[in-house]
């Protein structure tokens, strides 16, 4: 019997709901629930106990005392000690500079890939993805080997004659090393969305611009760039958000002077074992990132 499309869609289909439900349940269990736990811990007080905070939720019988044990002391403390605000601002600064560097390096790369002959494009995309085949951690460790004073870079520059035999490259444990590590690690995340936006660009638009008297360098700014903005925004977002919370790269390549919120968070959790304060830092970091993203998303949908 023939079933029309309308009949199909009007029938309640349990399988369809299942498909939608699975990811939502997943997010609920592994994103929202942990977030609520962190939020709760951030409102608790530190204690020398197991777990290291009070109050602990132990059933609804004493729910009233449990609630009265929660307060915003940790958040107040964060505003009182300039260390945290400095760490937030420093993270934002490093993330902004890194994102700009990534754009400056990634855009020409993506453009070159998109303009390459169609036969070699898949190979170029493969080369961009290739680093993912090794562990991220190992790749960052490899940079230590390159950047340290007696490392590969020093050796090469000495061999070339750029540096004297007893001179060394002083990059390791500086902010410059952090930028190198971040740009290196996040470049594929910037290049791929840019490439997908640029690859879709209709080449006849550039021909039309040229035909109307617009030389190529100008048509880049008038046609190519404006039409690639969705890719620029996607790439910038995908890089900026995780860079802000980055912990591994500043920890391994940065020095004592590189202050980042991810590192501060780590120290509070594992060094000072102050879970409530660390949770407060985490909640604020999340809000600092989620709110602008939500506003941005909203704007995008309207446009």
């Amino acid at each position: 019997m023939a079933v029309t499309e309308a009949e199909l869609s009007s029938k309640p289909n349990p399988a369809r709901w299942l498909v939608v439900l699975v990811p939502y349940v997943w997010l609920l269990l592994f994103f929202l629930a942990p977030f609520l736990i962190i939020l709760k811990i951030s409102l608790s007080d530190t204690a020398i106990a197991m777990p290291p905070y009070t109050p602990v939720f132990d059933g609804f019988a004493s729910f009233g005392t449990f609630l009265s044990g929660l307060d915003f002391d940790n958040y107040v403390f964060l505003t009182e000690d300039p260390l945290y605000m400095d760490a937030y601002l420093s993270s934002l600064r490093i993330a902004i500079i890194s994102t700009i560097l990534l754009l400056l390096i990634g855009y020409p790369m993506a453009l070159g890939m998109a303009r390459a002959p169609t036969t070699i494009r898949p190979t170029l995309v493969m080369l961009v993805i290739l680093p993912f085949w090794t562990s991220f951690l190992i790749r960052v460790y490899a940079w230590i080997g390159i950047l340290k004073p007696e490392g590969l870079l020093t050796l090469i520059l000495q061999t070339v004659g750029f540096l004297g035999p007893d001179e060394q490259v002083q990059i390791f444990r500086t902010e410059a090393a952090v930028f190198i590590g971040i740009v290196y690690s996040y470049l594929p995340f910037m290049v791929l969305p840019l490439y997908s936006a640029l690859e879709k660009l209709d080449g006849t638009l550039l021909e039309a611009a040229s035909d109307l008297g617009c030389p190529p360098w100008k048509s880049f700014w008038l046609i190519t760039f404006p039409l690639s903005i969705p890719g620029v925004i996607a790439g910038a977002m995908i890089c900026f958000i995780p860079i802000t919370g980055e912990f591994v790269i500043p920890d391994l390549l940065g020095g004592a002077g590189t202050l980042m919120i991810g590192k501060t968070l780590w120290t509070e959790f594992f060094g000072n074992r102050d879970w409530p304060l660390a949770s407060a830092v985490a909640v604020l970091l999340l809000l600092a990132l989620v709110v602008p993203i939500a506003i941005f998303q909203n704007q995008q949908q309207k446009a």
């Binding site: 611009a209 035909d211 109307l212 617009c214 039409l227």
Partner: protein
């Protein structure tokens, strides 16, 4: 050319004037892509204010030829002269030509107004001049009320007009149109054809149009170049192309035609006599061939009369057979007639009377007849 139509009265025919200089000249142009030859030693003159069509099937090199004039491709050898000046090596953005692209290539992030203003801004024109010119163009294509819309908010016909306005805004010396009406439906296409002709006459520009649609080429052009495999087969006015095609290829490509292969039996006295497998045909033209040459006889179906009785005039050519099929086209009916040797010939008859009154039907034995002046001899 197989035959001359004699002096034709034309208001505009600079190509017949030997003192007239061509506006655009393609001189011994060859273009190869790897092993593939897209254009093969082609020479072609186009005159000022001419509406010129490049007509041919896809892959015949017509688009490549146009792109070379726009500057997107450089000829492998040969020269392109515009007003007598060699424009080889001049980049597209410095050529006084503008192109209307097949896909329209409207800038999706700009409004209709900004699309049209784009070329004018590149010339660094003052703002008020740009605004005035854009308004003028919008009026020309009747889109004034859509000025601030984005291309995605327009219909196909409106986009086509924006593309036309944009390419006309800079008053190019030559406007290139690449399959300009291909994406429109039949009715809109026909309307737009007349609009294009109107605009061309009004603005006094030279139009070069690339199309695979023979009807479109016939309607709009002053002259047509029929191309095949990188070679120009014939350059002539629509009427000449239709009435006096110079080859089997052109005859077959343009309109409907009966072609019978045969041998020349006698040439002379203003006549060419042929023998097409036992069917003797006389054509009132001295073809450039001698008796015994393999040539073809061709005649348009509408020039063939059909009757139930043998024609009284014995001087005409005849073909006797059975009505095999009738194609009813509304304004015309095409009769496919088959003789005892299995040869078929088509005759078209205007449906002056209504269908019910038609005397000839399937299976009738009929006579097809035509005058010696109506047919053609094709030697190529």
């Amino acid at each position: 050319m197989a035959k001359s139509l004699g002096p034709v009265k034309r208001k505009f025919s600079p190509w017949t004037d030997p003192n007239e200089k061509p506006f655009i000249r393609f001189e011994n142009i060859t273009k190869t892509f790897g092993d593939y030859t897209a254009i093969d030693n082609l020479t072609l003159d186009i005159y000022e204010r001419e509406f010129f069509s490049l007509l041919g099937p896809s892959g015949c090199g017509k688009t490549t030829l146009m792109r070379m004039l726009a500057g997107f491709e450089e000829p492998t050898s040969g020269r392109i002269l515009l007003q007598g000046k060699d424009i080889s090596g001049v980049p597209p953005y410095r050529r006084p030509t503008n192109m209307m692209f097949q896909s329209y290539a409207l800038f999706p992030h700009m409004s209709v107004e900004k699309n049209i203003a784009f070329g004018l801004k590149q010339d660094g024109l003052p703002k008020d001049e740009v605004t005035a010119r854009v308004a003028e163009m919008l009026k020309l294509v009747q889109l004034s009320q859509f000025a601030s819309r984005k291309p995605s908010q327009l219909s196909g016909g409106q986009r086509q007009r924006v593309a036309l306005a944009r390419s006309l805004a800079k008053k190019p010396k030559v406007l290139l149109l690449d399959e300009p009406l291909g994406a429109l439906d039949k009715k809109l296409r026909e309307e737009t054809q007349f609009e294009l002709m109107d605009i061309q006459t009004k603005l006094g520009l030279t139009f070069l149009i690339v199309t695979h649609d023979q009807e479109e080429a016939m309607t709009v052009s002053d002259r047509i170049a029929v191309m095949d495999k990188g070679v120009v087969m014939q350059v002539a006015t629509p009427a000449e192309i239709y009435e006096a095609p110079n080859s089997r290829y052109v005859a077959d490509f343009i309109g409907d035609i009966n072609i019978l292969e045969g041998k020349a039996t006698a040439v002379g006295g203003g006549l060419t006599k042929l023998d097409c497998d036992g069917l003797a045909i006389a054509v009132a033209d001295e073809a450039p061939c001698t008796a015994g040459d393999s040539i073809a006889f061709a005649i348009r179906p509408e020039k063939v009369a059909i009757s139930l009785d043998a024609p009284a005039d014995t001087s005409v050519n005849t073909f006797h057979g059975e009505v095999w099929d009738i194609g009813y086209l509304g304004d015309f009916s095409v009769f496919i007639v088959r003789d005892e040797n299995g040869r078929t010939m088509r005759a078209a008859q205007a449906n002056i009377a209504r269908l019910v009154d038609r005397p000839i039907t399937y299976g009738d034995m009929v006579w097809l007849s035509w005058k010696a002046e109506s047919g053609l001899v094709l030697t190529r």
